[in-house]
């Protein structure tokens, strides 16, 4: 029996996750750790307590948005490695609005979220425009803009948002996504209202791509640029639009950190990593909205659970970073996994 391609699409990421965990286990055993204790610690640290579940969801929020950002651009055939930079710009814009104004919550919070979206969109517009106008590859431009964003945000925090300090003030309560209710039901984790924004964005992405003409055009450009051009679509406009929407998602991911988890922004020595993990989330989720949400939940669980591994099992939490990197490699190498599935399912017939 030949397996349907839909089945293969679902099976491939599952096999990739399995292989990642398998290699992670081998590494642990080879380093002399007890793998079973380590995975128990990982599980307990992610789902063992209502507090940890709250933290997992808190971590999942930016992952969903970063994953949507990468996935959305992918659908138009663009690789947005710049999610990290757009996220930083969004974070900065949200905190900027958060600390500068004193408005009623009904205006202040949406304004801060909007600012983050706009900042992310503008930062993503640059590679989109350069790609459309000059045919410059977006991967290189977004990488360069990541570093530029890191230095710019650091400089703004030091010289504009504070007097030479390493972090901004706390944002005003009226712009905060924090929720006493959500915190209290999860034993005072840092879970916040951003989860609703993340879910709404996932639905919006699905709706745009699957139910609108614009979405059809965006996907068409991703499938075949020349055919789309021939069919009368404006390829350049679609490339820019795709990057801008992707940038909005990335900027919102920054807002989640700025308005929800932290409530401030500090000078950073390096990247947050959320943007790069977003690539893993999007790939594993097959660039679909529902897949991104599920993959984000998995990576959120892994990341938060990992913090418990050194405490309970004495295993460095970097093991989870290794597993995530391996999963990316295995998903990216899906050609070989699909080939393998074909072999196995064909053998079954004989």
């Amino acid at each position: 029996m030949q397996m349907s391609s839909r089945m293969k699409n679902i099976l491939t990421p599952i096999i990739a996750v399995f292989l990642g965990i398998l290699v992670g286990t081998i590494i642990m055993v080879a380093s002399g750790y007890n793998a079973i204790t380590a995975y128990q610690a990982l599980w307990n640290g992610a789902f063992g307590d209502i507090y940890f579940i709250g933290e997992v969801i808190r971590q999942t929020i930016p992952y969903i948005l970063a994953g949507l950002a990468v996935a959305f651009a992918f659908k138009t055939g663009l690789f947005n490695i710049g999610v990290e930079g757009q996220l930083l710009m969004g974070w900065m814009a949200a905190v900027w609005v958060g600390v500068s104004f004193d408005l009623p919550k009904i205006i202040h919070l949406p304004l801060a979220v909007l600012a983050a979206g706009v900042a992310g969109a503008l930062w993503a517009f640059i590679p989109g425009y350069l790609k459309a106008r000059f045919r410059v590859h977006e991967v290189i431009v977004t990488i360069m803009l990541n570093h530029t964003a890191l230095y710019i945000t650091n400089q703004v925090i030091r010289s504009v948002l504070s007097d030479g300090k390493e972090r901004t003030d706390m944002i005003a309560d009226s712009s905060s996504l924090r929720s006493v209710f959500l915190e209290s039901i999860t034993d005072y984790s840092r879970m916040h209202w951003g989860i609703t924004i993340a879910i709404i964005c996932a639905i919006i992405m699905w709706f745009i791509l699957e139910k609108t003409t614009t979405g059809f055009e965006l996907r068409a450009v991703g499938f075949n640029e020349h055919a789309s051009q021939y069919a009368g679509m404006n390829v350049k406009r679609n490339i820019i639009l795709s990057m801008v929407i992707s940038g909005i998602f990335a900027g919102l991911a920054g807002a989640m950190e700025g308005l929800g988890t932290f409530g401030y922004m500090a000078v950073k020595g390096g990247f947050t990593g959320v943007g790069f993990d977003g690539i893993a989330v999007a790939l594993l989720g097959g660039n679909t909205a529902i897949g991104v949400v599920l993959a984000a939940l998995l990576f959120g669980g892994l990341k938060v659970g990992a913090l418990n591994m050194p405490l309970e099992a004495g295993v460095p939490n970097e093991l989870v970073d290794i597993i995530i990197a391996l999963i990316i490699i295995f998903v990216a190498s899906s050609y070989i996994i699909r080939w393998f599935i074909d072999r196995v399912s064909k053998k079954g017939v004989k």
């Binding site: 690789f79 290189i140 530029t148 790069f276 690539i279 290794i322 050609y335």
Partner: protein, 319 residues
Amino acid sequence: MGIMDILQIVIPSTLLWAAPLILTALGGIFSERSGVVNIGLEGLMVIGAFTGIVFNLETVSVLGSWTPWVALLVAALVGAIFSLIHAVASISFRADHTVSGVAINLLAVGVTLFLVKLIYDKGQTDIIQKGFSKIDVPFLSDIPIIGPIFFSNTYWTSYVAIIIAIIAWFVVFKTPFGLRLRSTGEHPMAADTMGINVTKMRYIGVIISGALGGLGGAVYAQSISSDFSHATISGQGFMALAAMIFGKWHPLGAMGAAIFFGFAQSLSIIGNSLPFLENVPSLVLLIAPYILTILALTGFIGRADAPKASGTHYIKGSR
């Protein structure tokens, strides 16, 4: 402060910061010229820096003053082995080169920090006792004017990097091997038709990039940072990538770009001690390499085009 004094501060410092960038950018050239995009340079530098520091710490009591040099070789070897992951994924398993490169970066950081904790039971290594230190090149530093500027208070590694860049130029542009490497990156099918083993050439390209990336990381770690932690390599690999593009995938061009970026990096550190730079915000110097690369790609500073087939998979029989 006279012009001589300024040059004597700026040039050695520029060359110090440029050396790791030159080596890593050359690595990127070998990979991309063979047709494999290598975003993983950053990760390869991380591996090199880690290997260099750990090897240095563990063997300094035996090898003495030779330690940093042997550590360089070991780091190059480990970098080459690590790059095999990228080669297998992106050449044999047809993974997207960029995705695989991103994974290499994440994997390198994860593996090295895991090992640091495993070996030393803390987040960073000790500081090495025997790194590369400042030297005056014998004889050459006695030449008037040129001697004090180019050959005093400097590091051997800077000259090694420049010599390797010249060798790389010769290999890529003047040898049959280089011609074959470039042909697989420009038009793999034509290369295959002429009897060149495309897969083999691409593997070689990636492995050389791993060795040079590892070398670059180890040079950085042993001459600038002196220990290894999560922050040791933070963006130098991407800056090397920028140098490669800014240098238009040409070894000597990349060397020039790397020296320029090294200049910008060193200025953002020593700039305050120079009279004419006091008023330039350090932000401008920090982001200059990245902005210039974007401008170069856009065509404002002479258009930079990648090898034609870079980033594509060569599948025999497909057209």
